[in-house]
Subunit: 205 residues, 2 copies
DNA sequence: ACCTTTGTTAACCATTTGGTTAAATTGCAT
DNA sequence: ATGCAATTTAACCAAATGGTTAACAAAGGT
């Protein structure tokens, strides 16, 4: 728990601290003083390196979004077979979130507070994920008869839900089920295989 | 959009306003002045009827939790056949959330900020949902051979995820897919049947 | 050594925000 | 009408909070 802070530059310390505070408390709940304390530096330095709370927040938010969205894009747009895509998606996506459990709550929440503004910003920065190809691919498989009839959007939503939701409910789930960190990790590791299997079992003809 | 406020008591106006503001901005982001404005009354009245922001928040939070948790309990503890339970759960739960789309984000988020405190409070107020029976029932069906082998907790998580997550991603999903309110509603109405079908197709032997 | 640039801090400042107060208004029982 | 309790408001207040400033320390080039 003690400082790794010694050999980090002030700027790095600030970013690490801001990440921690913003991710757990959100924009509205975060305090500049908390971030300064967490970084072990003077509050004025926050403004020296990043002009304002909003600017600092934006950099953390973009960093977080970067971890989530480009990966979706890549898988959506690749030319793997459908079942492979599903397997890859679950595996890679859950992996990211296991390492950053707060990520989905944080990003979705802040988007919910100011949807249009964030949507625009995310779109210009890096193309907001476009599932069009993935949906087409599902339709094609349905026509080929390899999978059952289903609204492609429903299938997409099912996949996203089962991968992402567990992290958004993590604290409640752990308390209710009495799971520690490692047990939750194990549960999510199992899920990397379980979710694709569950989906494919459901839609395969 | 105009006032129904005329024939409501001040207390009712406050509660309605607080509900709206807290649900969309969260505890940290909500301002007492915003709530007063929304209710069209003086800020001091908020403190006259409810002592503090925290007290007011707690009443709104509990009201929200009440809409979500007892219903889960009831279905978990009923003695319906497994497939019926899944169908009922999806149908009833999605219905509640269609009428209150912010509910899941709000409740889960605030729990995430202060997990242990909320967990205790929810437990004393009304028993926090206990899926033990539901999980047992799944095991029994597996042993009977009516459904495939699966970790019951994974199945539970799948069901919860597919019902709840769409509402947490609602704004983003709508923007990305260009869906209006009615279209989203239709999508969720379709989901009431689709989710149980998806699950049962997956686990049925 | 000296100076200039960069980094860092303590002390401040202005605004926001939750909360209080005392006066005014309303409702209503007598 | 009169008096009394409940309700409502404008004006305040103190603490918290984002942000600034001016002085000070470090680093590095000459």
């Amino acid at each position: 728990m003690v400082n790794i802070k010694k050999d980090q530059s002030a700027e790095e310390k600030i970013i690490a601290a801001a990440r921690k505070v913003f991710l757990s408390k959100g924009l509205a709940g975060a305090r500049m003083q908390d971030i300064a304390d967490e970084a072990g530096i003077n509050k004025a330095l926050l403004h020296y390196y990043f002009r304002s709370k909003d600017k600092l927040f934006e950099m953390i938010f973009m960093e977080a979004a970067q971890k989530l969205f480009p990966k979706i894009n890549f898988i959506f747009e690749s030319n793997m077979p459908l079942f492979d895509k599903i397997e890859h998606f679950a595996d890679e996506y859950i992996s990211v979130m296991v390492e950053n459990p707060y990520l989905p709550s944080f990003v979705l929440n802040e988007i919910n507070r100011e949807p249009v503004a964030f949507f625009k910003k995310l779109n210009e920065k890096f193309g907001f994920p476009d599932p069009a190809l993935f949906l087409k691919q599902i339709e094609r498989e349905i026509k080929k008869g390899t999978i059952k009839r289903i609204n492609p959007l429903q299938l997409l939503m099912n996949m996203l839900s089962m991968c992402i939701f567990p992290f958004m409910a993590k604290p409640m789930f752990q308390l209710r089920m009495g799971l520690g960190e490692t047990q939750f990790r194990d549960f999510m590791e199992q899920r990397k295989k379980e979710v694709p299997k569950f989906i494919i079992d459901s839609i395969r003809r």
